[in-house]
């Protein structure tokens, strides 16, 4: 599906900090169009996770504004942002380990009706048929790669306008990363607007159309795939 020119997410002059003394993000401004897959790159501690957590409403901004479809999210709580269509698949996945695959995926559609949750589950089974065979299996007993696929499925279950996936490849084998990459590509081709926070450049390059580079909490680069200087890529960080 082609990228639309309609702006979905707008971030203006965003500053975020965990303590009163120091900001982690400084004056970040960016925009993301419908259907885009945007990779956020940067070293550890650059502020990538903080940025997506702030967009999801888990950390209140100190300054600046976040808008979805032109509407300010300043007073919108984190659970309500899920209803508005902003969903985060966090680093470490935060799955419900003692609940089944089916329960996890259906909880992804928690803000929807019961029928929509069932439809979301069936959609995910169509995408990953092994879900159906192992529907009652506890998520805590799955491998890391399988858990990441469940986490993605849980994220998509609410049919988000914007899906943010934070470091999905951490701790996964090459095979699992390959399977994950295929899944993310299918999502992108299906028109899912996605922000991918990733240190695995191979995965990010395979999936994303555009890249934002963060360094020490500042946005220092905004490149399309063609503009990205492949030779000196690491020097960007």
């Amino acid at each position: 599906m082609p990228v639309s020119s309609a702006e979905l997410l707008t971030v203006r002059n965003l500053s975020v900090g965990y303590s009163r003394r120091e900001d982690v993000l400084h004056d970040i401004s960016l925009s993301i169009n419908e259907g885009e897959c945007v990779g956020i790159l940067g070293h550890n501690g650059a502020g990538k996770t903080t940025l997506v957590r702030a967009i999801a409403g888990h950390i209140p901004p100190r300054e600046g504004e976040i808008r979805l479809d032109g509407q300010s999210l300043r007073t919108v709580s984190s659970p309500k942002r899920v209803s508005r269509g902003i969903v985060l698949v966090p680093q470490g996945r935060a799955l419900f380990a003692k609940m089944s695959i089916e329960e996890n995926v259906k909880l992804g559609a928690y803000r929807k009706s019961g029928q929509q949750a069932t439809a979301a589950w069936e959609e995910q089974v169509a995408e990953l048929p092994w879900f159906a065979d192992r529907r009652r299996e506890l998520v805590g007993l799955l491998s890391g790669g399988q858990q990441q696929l469940v986490a993605n499925a849980r994220g998509i279950a609410s049919q988000p306008k914007l899906l943010m996936v934070d470091e999905p490849s951490v701790g996964l084998s090459g095979l699992a990363v390959s399977e994950l990459s295929q899944r993310l590509l299918r999502m992108r081709d299906g028109g899912q607007t996605t922000i991918l926070v990733e240190q695995n450049l191979g995965l990010a390059l395979a999936v994303c159309d555009r890249f934002l580079v963060l360094r020490e909490g500042k946005l220092v680069g905004n490149y399309t795939k063609d503009e990205l200087p492949m030779d000196g890529l690491w020097s960007l960080f």
């Binding site: 659970p79 799955l95 329960e103 259906k106 909880l107 928690y110 803000r111 007993l141 994220g155």
Partner: protein, 319 residues
């Protein structure tokens, strides 16, 4: 005599079972050792007494009023005390680890003392209550059981069945389980933690009041009676931290039978010693042996998964 002990034990355990499921549920979902439930147990009982004796309300209305007020107080304890201490209000998780972990427990003890003291202030330390409804007596296997006692067991059983159904079959029940599993996961799927906590603290406050009123109608009560019951519940939660709520309830019934047996054969003092000793020694034994068992199970599951992963990799390489 054995049947008598069994029946009376079930009746006693049914009351304790209510507190056990309420206490266990709060511990499991919210992670707070809600000792103040003992205070709500006493508050509910004395509110009933005040409504029925001082205001002359019919039994059902007085009971309902006690339950409703206790539910509201339960929610207020969470909103005004626990949530403030753990930093759920305003900027989250800004509280130090020590305060976030120990704070609610210590505060809960404080709330228990406040609630018991308020009751003491109004009603004094003289035992009151014990006017059980005269609804007749049944003959069960040669033993006598009052209809009132049967009613108590039925209420307790209905409560545990309703709570188990809520947890396994409703959207908010799923959300409560999810919150207990992973607060971060609950947050990312859009579960409103404060709404779920409101439901939980209201329901458990109401359950504590139901248990308190049943206890007051069964035998005379003094302020501070809830501490023993909540201590039993706390020990059972520590012994079976991952159990289903039905298991906590059944354990309470067994404890009730044990207690009643000791009380009939010796006296109530001996019954307290037996009940507490059995719970404490079980806790010690379980803590010594169960972690090894769990570790063995985890190792076994991990080995199985590793074997599967190895076979899968080999198959991929072969391709």
């Amino acid at each position: 005599m054995l049947t008598d002990i069994l029946i009376q034990g079930i009746v006693v355990g049914a009351g304790w079972g209510l507190i056990a499921i309420a206490f266990g549920l709060i511990t499991r979902v919210v992670g707070v050792f809600h000792i103040a439930l003992g205070g709500l147990y006493g508050l509910g009982a004395y509110l009933y007494l005040g409504a029925s004796r001082d205001f002359g309300l019919p039994m059902a209305i007085a009971w309902l009023a006690a339950v409703l007020i206790s539910a509201i107080v339960g929610v207020l304890i969470d909103e005004l005390v626990y949530q403030r201490i753990t930093g759920l209000h305003g900027r989250r998780r800004q509280t130090s680890k020590l305060v976030a972990e120990a704070g609610p427990f210590v505060a809960s003890l404080g709330v228990l003392i406040v609630l018991d003291s308020v009751v003491l202030l109004f009603y004094g330390a003289t035992p009151v209550g014990g006017h059980r409804p005269e609804w007749g007596v049944l003959d069960i296997l040669g033993a006598r059981m009052s209809v009132w006692d049967l009613f108590k067991v039925a209420i307790s059983l209905a409560s545990v069945v309703a709570l188990a159904w809520w947890l396994s079959s409703t959207k908010s029940g799923y959300a409560a389980r999810a919150l207990g599993e992973s607060p971060e996961g609950a947050s990312v799927v859009g579960i409103n933690e404060r709404s779920i906590r409101r439901i939980l603290f209201a329901v458990t406050g109401a359950i504590a009041a139901v248990a308190g009123v049943m206890a007051m109608l069964s035998s005379p009560m003094v302020p501070g009676s809830g501490i023993n019951v909540v201590l039993y519940a706390a020990l059972m939660t520590l012994i079976f931290p991952n159990a289903r709520i039905e298991a906590w309830w059944l354990a309470s019934i067994m404890l009730g039978v044990l207690y009643t047996g000791a009380a009939v054969l010796y006296n109530s003092g001996m019954a307290e010693i037996v009940a507490q000793t059995v719970l404490l020694s079980t806790l010690v034994v379980v803590r010594i042996f169960v972690p090894q068992y769990q570790k063995a199970r985890r190792t076994s599951a991990a080995s199985k998964l590793a074997l599967q992963a190895q076979k899968f990799s080999e198959a991929e390489v072969a391709k």
